[in-house]
């Protein structure tokens, strides 16, 4: 791969921050005092060194989401595991209730966990979104029932970047005492999150979306919530997530969370400026249309349908020109063949629009120069692919 890649796929994963790497190294066999690696469950000094790193990270992650008690943070192996633990664990904790409500735009980690419950005899209600990708709190309220075991609505959508009205949704769920799980994997580090103010029950996080390492996540679980584990073993993380902790990863996550908390306002301001430049540049080309709400969207996200162009061809053309962007979400695009994103279809986009959509996501270190380079490459790729198409005729 070239070194001068313009990386605009931060929603898929972010680069590892140098400061985060520094925080991880002591736990990858480079302890400054020469201490051997320890297990956080061990009583001896190396064990204490590891345990202290984990607890320090727990405090940082708790602060990032506004949790009063760091004990409400459980470390996992990533966003998917956190989502699974929340959906399956909340359902198992109240076994008499056999109904689950999710939004149609949830990440597959939530959708598939709900589908798993459906196979086990649960009824799953999927609530739709409007043309901007937003969930209606009124529709959600109408879907909740006395036998609803949980509701799940993501804070910000991973594909089109739509930011959901979580505050209203949480209030509705609290009122009828239905546990609410919120996937905040994309939101954390880009939006202020304060669970002390917004009464969510569980909240999923992932380190590699905020400049931390891959393979580490966390689940915030409110202190008074009932949750059953999905992994069984040594009883780590209060018995809710057995397995020896990924100490280096957790230490990195902690540092990434600390930096995200401290730099949140600067990052958001920086990203928003680049986002606006990208939106006006990209949609300045005829037949390029922005998907998702114009204002209620992540600071990092641009998602466009490019008329007359196949997304895979556009993404790989841009790749060949040195620009890395996403087609739909990385999960949806890794499967072979044309699979229209269910999220775009839920937003009443045509299949043609859905298979011609790409996602461009900036990061805290993206530069205006990179945005300009990208816009040039984008125009080149779109023009050439449209010229090659036997179907596209310009509507000038």
């Amino acid at each position: 791969m070239q070194n001068d890649v313009v990386y605009l796929d931060h929603a898929a994963t972010t680069p590892l921050d140098e400061r985060v790497l520094e925080a991880m190294l002591p736990h990858l066999g480079r302890a400054p005092n020469g201490s051997p690696r320890g297990n956080p469950s061990s009583l001896h000094a190396p064990g204490v060194f590891a345990r202290e790193a984990v607890e320090e990270a727990r405090a940082s992650v708790a602060r990032l989401v506004g949790a009063d008690d760091p004990g409400e943070i459980l470390f996992t192996a990533g966003g998917t595991e956190s989502d699974n633990l929340a959906v399956l664990g909340l359902a198992a904790a109240d076994p008499d209730k056999k109904h689950v409500v999710i939004s149609v735009v949830e990440h597959p980690a939530v959708r598939e966990a709900a589908a798993h419950l459906e196979v086990a005899g649960y009824e799953v209600t999927s609530i739709g979104v409007d043309a901007d990708g937003l969930v209606s709190p009124v529709e959600l309220a109408g879907a909740l029932r006395p036998d609803t075991a949980l509701a799940a609505v993501m804070w910000a959508n991973n594909e089109v970047g739509a930011v959901q009205p979580i505050e209203e949704i949480a209030a509705i769920c609290q009122e009828v005492r239905v546990p609410l799980h919120v996937d905040a994997v994309q939101a954390a580090g880009r939006l202020p999150i304060d669970v002390s103010r917004i009464p969510v029950s569980t909240l999923a996080l992932s380190a590699h979306k905020l400049y931390g390492p891959q393979g580490v996540g966390a689940l915030y679980a409110r202190g008074d919530i009932e949750l059953e584990p999905v992994l069984f073993g040594g009883g780590q993380e209060k018995g809710l997530r057995s397995g020896t902790e990924n100490v280096a990863g957790i230490a990195g996550f902690g540092e990434a969370a600390r930096l995200a908390y401290e730099e949140l306002a600067d990052r958001t301001r920086h990203e928003e400026a680049l986002r606006e430049a990208l939106i006006s540049g990209a949609t300045g080309i005829p037949g390029v249309r922005l998907n998702g709400h114009r204002e209620k969207r992540l600071s990092s996200n641009i998602h466009v349908s490019v008329e007359g162009v196949d997304a895979e061809s556009l993404v790989l053309f841009l790749d060949a020109l040195g620009c890395a962007v996403g087609s739909g979400s990385a999960c949806a695009s890794s499967t072979a063949g044309h699979k229209a994103s269910p999220i775009l279809l839920a937003m009443a986009r045509t299949p043609e629009e859905a298979i011609s959509s790409i996602r461009i996501t900036v990061g805290k270190d993206t530069t205006q120069q990179e945005v300009n380079t990208f816009l040039d490459s984008f125009a080149t790729a779109v023009t050439q692919l449209r010229e090659l198409s036997p179907l596209y005729t310009s509507k000038n």
Binding site: E312, A336, G337, H338, P351, S389, P390, L391
Partner: protein, 492 residues
Amino acid sequence: MTNNYNPRVIDHLVRPRNAGELEAPSGVGESGDAACGDVARFTVRIEENHLEEIRYKVYGCVACIAAGSALSELVWSKPLPEAARVSKVDLENALGGPLPAGKEHALTLVLDALHKALEDHWNRQAGEMLVEGYAGGFGRGTNGRKSVVAAMSGGVDSAVTALLLKEAGYDVVTVTFRLHDGERGSRSCCSPDTVLFARDTAHRMGLPHFTLNLKELFDRRVMKDFVGSYAAGRTPNPCVSCNAHVKFHAASFLADRLGFHNVATGHYARVVEEPGGAVTMARPADASKDQTYVLWPVPGELLSRTIFPLGEYRKEEVRRIAEERGLAVAYTPESQDICFIPDGNYRGFVRKKVAAEPGEIVDKGGRTLGKHAGVVDFTVGQRRGIGVSAPTPLYVTEVRPSQNQVVVGRRKDLEVREVCVGDLNWFLDCGEADSVQVRYNSAPVSCEIEDLGDGEVRARLAEPVMGVAPGQSAVFYKGDRMVGGGVVRQDA
């Protein structure tokens, strides 16, 4: 199998070769549709059987764009048979190896678009021939080599035919005719999927493959005749009509255009030259597969350039050859039904095309026995579905469309001792005939022939024959040699 594209594919994506569209092409072909996400379009300029220039356009995934680009390079400036030989494997090799899983459709898509452009070229060349029938001088090409155009239906017989010819040292070009729209996904011959299958089969044998669009000719000469026969109270044989006007003519047209000498099909029959030099057909080695009966109308000029390699083989041997050579067609089912009616419901097909008026069922004395829903539902000799109960089984003995009547009688009433035959096609002198066959797979009956003039003969049969229906073929033989054939007259 990898999930990534190799660098050669990406190079074709970013620097597509021969992209665009020719302004005055000699052929245009398009495959795929926007709904399934991929469309390929080729324009070609062909001069003297050379693909002089090619341009392509693709909307779709990377694999389709790259495959279109690589294909245009592979066939650029090639003689047509060479271009038509380029296979999915060749294309994959040109792209640097297998495509990612799930992307193989790209190869099929671009090859199909190119082949449709070549088909368009032939169809423009053919002009009226593909509507009126090939009236050309049947001039044989002489390129100095043994060369043959072999018709490929996609079944085992035609595949082995092409293979045997190739192994016998012929330059072989295969051709599949688009005869009707069929039903997509059906195994009926000539349906769109069957064309793709036939192309694959030819390419696996390393043979060029062309398609010709004969839908209009086939509709006019075969399907309309089929429907019209029922309405006129005759029993049609669409295979006979096709052999009379379509298949051999089209193969000969292509052979002439390519400068090829012979044509071949997978029929079980033999072409023989009599001592006097006359060319005719003889029954094949596998008597149970004898298809000479439906081949009688092939014009003599065409028959004399025709090769039927399977005439010397038994069906089991043909399947064994296909198996040994690893042809996927070895296990294709035997086709039984009329190719454009794959479900075998002839009545349903005819009824969709012609209005049926209810009428009377009468006996030969004119007494009304019942009602029918339309004469198109009946052919002479039919026993089932008459809808009149009687102590002895009733048979249709005559269909009278002009009076909208169906005449029924006993089995004995179906017996005939003489048959009047018109629309004759003789390979040998008609006086040489010693027997006549009036149905596919029935035994020939000894006969004497009387020339009635006006292109008709009367055959006096040595023994009575049941159910000779107007419209059927009557084919005359001398021993195992075909003397000629014709169509049973209405007033026989």
